[in-house]
């Protein structure tokens, strides 16, 4: 359907459940998200779990007799909506896909709820939806159901998106901080903190926009292979808000029988992100990532894990950054380049507002 001039912008009528709402759903959302579940047009999407389990089993070899689901939700309010390396739509799918896969759940379906500000350009909305649809299909998930609300001008900042997701957890997969033990290796799938640095740069205009790129990337394909028990993965987590340091602190606070010792020398950073961070006095270990997972595995499988990750572009920069230690229980410590040490506490203050 062609939108006439008057209908190029979102109005409150697009959210009242009437004709304009339906037009918007069919001309934008269904157009890009279309799939058999959504096109049933019911109040909720119906998922045939066994069918999905069989399909994933065929592709990956994992078994699903336990029928264990992983479920997650997250809201996205990033500013600016479009940044170097992604946009709010890509981020909204990425975040939820990553939350599922790091829990050991292979993503199947997501939902999406849009809160849109009156006056928002429909063309921009379409670009965001298109980006969501592309990211979803590239990662083997589909949008099973959705919702749209419109709020008055000034009541939200353009558009906010909520996505929830469900995934299937293969038999025998049980990732948790309680599994961590002394000597385990700590791996990150790429340079830390790029997303936070990128958003900061987009807002402040400090250095050339294209020189700092977000790491925003779904990791379902890359990480699902690691669920094979031969890797012995103990726990995985995506280092989003609060960055790597905060994520590691979550591990030691949930299992304080050990400490984590990072090696400053082993951590490499993306050069431009590091320069920007140094100029602004920001620590990239506390800066958000949107496409980096922290993986804890036995030291014996660390090289296999790194070899697996190196096969994919998004995780080709994976590196071992430290070890789990019996010392400094309940703390994250970094051994500095010159051989000194310092604690890496949980992040206290936001380094940047609204980054995801």
């Amino acid at each position: 359907m062609n939108l006439n001039e008057r209908e190029k912008y979102i109005t409150e009528a697009h959210g009242n459940g009437g004709k304009l709402t339906h037009d918007l759903i069919s001309s934008v959302f269904v157009k890009y998200f279309d799939n058999p579940t959504l096109s049933e047009g019911l109040d909720s999407g119906r998922l045939d779990i066994l069918k999905f389990a069989a399909k994933i089993s065929e592709n990956t070899g994992f078994k699903f007799s336990g029928q264990k689901l992983g479920m997650t939700t997250d809201s996205y309010v990033v500013k600016p909506l479009f940044f170097n390396g992604g946009d709010i739509g890509k981020l909204a799918v990425t975040g939820t896909v990553n939350d599922l896969i790091v829990t050991g759940a292979i993503p199947v379906a997501i939902t999406c709820g849009f809160i849109i500000e009156e006056g928002f350009k429909i063309e921009t909305l379409e670009t965001i939806v298109k980006s969501m649809a592309r990211t979803a299909s590239e990662n083997g998930v589909f949008v099973a159901t959705g919702d749209t609300k419109v709020v008055g001008r000034g009541l939200c900042d353009g558009v906010y998106i909520n996505t929830s997701g469900v995934g299937l957890i293969p038999d025998g997969v049980d990732l948790a901080p309680s599994k961590i033990s002394g000597g385990d290796a700590v791996i990150i799938t790429g340079t830390p903190g790029n997303h936070g640095a990128c958003i900061l740069n987009e807002r402040g205009g400090f250095i050339d926009r294209m020189s700092v790129s977000s790491d925003c990337a779904p990791l379902a394909r890359q990480l699902s292979g690691l669920l094979d028990k031969k890797f012995g993965i103990k726990v995985m987590r995506d280092a989003t808000r609060g960055g790597v340091a905060t994520t590691l602190n979550e591990f030691v606070s949930q299992n304080n029988n050990f400490g984590i010792m990072l090696e400053e020398e082993s951590i490499s950073y993306e050069t431009n992100a590091k320069s920007l961070a140094d100029i602004l006095g920001i620590d990239l270990l506390y800066s958000a990532c949107e496409g980096r997972a922290i993986i804890v595995c036995p030291s014996g499988t660390a090289n296999d894990v790194l070899a697996h990750l190196s096969r994919f572009d998004e995780t080709s920069g994976a590196m071992e950054i430290g070890r789990v230690s019996e010392k400094n229980k309940g703390k994250v410590v970094i051994k500095t380049r010159i051989g000194g040490g310092r604690f890496l506490d949980m992040q206290v203050l936001e380094q940047f507002p609204r980054i995801c």
Binding site: I334, T336, G339, G341, R342, D345, V348, L349
Partner: protein, 383 residues
């Protein structure tokens, strides 16, 4: 003594270099016949780098690194902040300030709280951002909070010159700039402070040059090293201080010669001297230090908020001098008489989220550094 950092950075194995310097530090330390050697860094950025690089954890126990009053926000007295708040509360005023000042509690409130209550308080990244604000708001008095050491004073002086050249009638400076060398002298002679050597600030020295420290430190008999901001700079400076202490010398040595010259930045000094003159100034925790503050002079006096709005600044609520928040020991922290974990409020009620004193408020503050890097008395086991 000085070295080319870029060249070093490319060619050297940092760990090995650090180890070599540390070996020397250990040797000097053993040779010095003292129970403890107190070295004070007088720059918030040094404090942070010392923690970040782990230098503290590598030094012999005998060496005590003390953090001095090196954060301009932290040494700003309550009465100054209360005066700024009194102006902010008046609808005829717009306050422009560096962001760090916003959350600092005075005796009556903070600028952040006043902003929330409707006062027009704006964060600027350069003092000259105030010029446009003054042009856009001809009916308001725009007040820039001139807080900072020699590193910001030239920019504040430039603001006064610009105001004059553009004929602005509604732009004023609330005078709070302070200078470092006079304060060092006061600390060196303070009865409660026991210092064997100063790690002197790098950025401030770029402006002042080495000369500015010679006479104040010579009189006190304490040695000093002007230090850069890389951890190797800091280790080298400590080594140099120990060498001087072991030889009984009290010179000022410039380790940061890749940025600091003997006489400093002449252009910056010229504009400062043209616009400002020295005056006595009150430092939180230390008291009034003669000649350690800057006041607008001559034809620039008319841009002084202090002179023009004394009645507003001194309205009810403003404290007479440095008031102490109950239990807050920022004063003692600034003099390095205690370390932050010894303050009863540290980490218990005072944190970066709910800061009580300025040393926790400012990101450069000593308490903020201790909090951020988690050294609240815990010992790190490295091997």
């Amino acid at each position: 003594m000085s070295f080319n950092y870029d060249e070093f950075s490319e060619k050297c194995n940092k760990k090995e270099t650090a180890k070599k310097i540390l070996d020397k530090i250990n040797a000097y330390c053993a040779a010095i016949d003292k129970a403890s050697i107190n070295l004070m860094e007088v720059c918030g950025t040094h404090t942070h780098e010392i923690f970040k690089s782990g230098v503290r954890t590598m030094l012999p126990d005998k060496i005590k690194l003390r953090s001095g009053p090196g954060c301009p926000v932290c040494v700003t007295e309550d009465s100054y902040i209360d005066g700024a708040i009194n102006m902010a509360r008046d609808k005829n005023f717009i306050i422009t300030t560096f962001g760090d000042m916003l959350k600092v509690p005075g005796e009556i409130s903070s600028l952040k709280k006043e902003q929330g209550a409707g006062s027009d308080v704006r964060v600027v990244y350069s003092p000259t951002d105030s010029i446009e604000i003054a042009f856009e708001n001809p009916s308001k008095n725009v007040i820039f909070l001139g807080v900072g050491f020699e590193t910001t004073a030239p920019a504040v002086a430039f603001l006064a010159k610009e105001a004059k050249e553009r004929g602005l009638k509604n732009l004023f400076i609330y005078e709070g700039n302070k200078t470092v060398p006079e304060a060092l002298k006061a600390i060196a002679n303070h009865p409660a402070v026991k210092i064997d050597g100063f790690i002197l600030p790098g950025h401030v020295s770029v402006i002042t040059g080495v000369t500015a420290y010679r006479s104040p430190l010579a009189q006190s008999g304490i040695c000093g090293v002007i230090c850069g901001f890389e951890y190797i700079d800091i280790l080298l400076s400590i080594e140099t201080l120990l060498k001087m202490i072991s030889e009984g010398r009290h010179d000022v040595i410039n380790e940061y010669s890749r940025a600091v010259s003997e006489s400093g930045n002449a252009a910056a000094q010229k504009i400062m001297n043209e616009v400002f003159e020295a005056r006595d100034s009150e430092w939180r925790g230390i008291g009034v230090i003669p000649g350690s503050g800057l006041k607008l002079r001559g034809e620039y006096k008319k841009y002084s908020a202090d002179d023009n709005f004394a009645a507003v600044i001194n309205r009810a609520g403003k404290t007479a001098g440095t008031a102490h928040h109950q239990g807050c020991k920022c004063g003692e922290v600034l003099l390095s008489v205690i370390e932050p974990p010894q303050c009863p409020l540290f980490k218990k009620v005072c944190s970066p989220i709910f800061p009580i004193g300025p040393c926790m408020v400012s990101s450069e503050g000593t308490c903020a550094a201790f909090y951020k890097y988690g050294s609240s008395g815990d010992k790190i086991e490295l091997e």
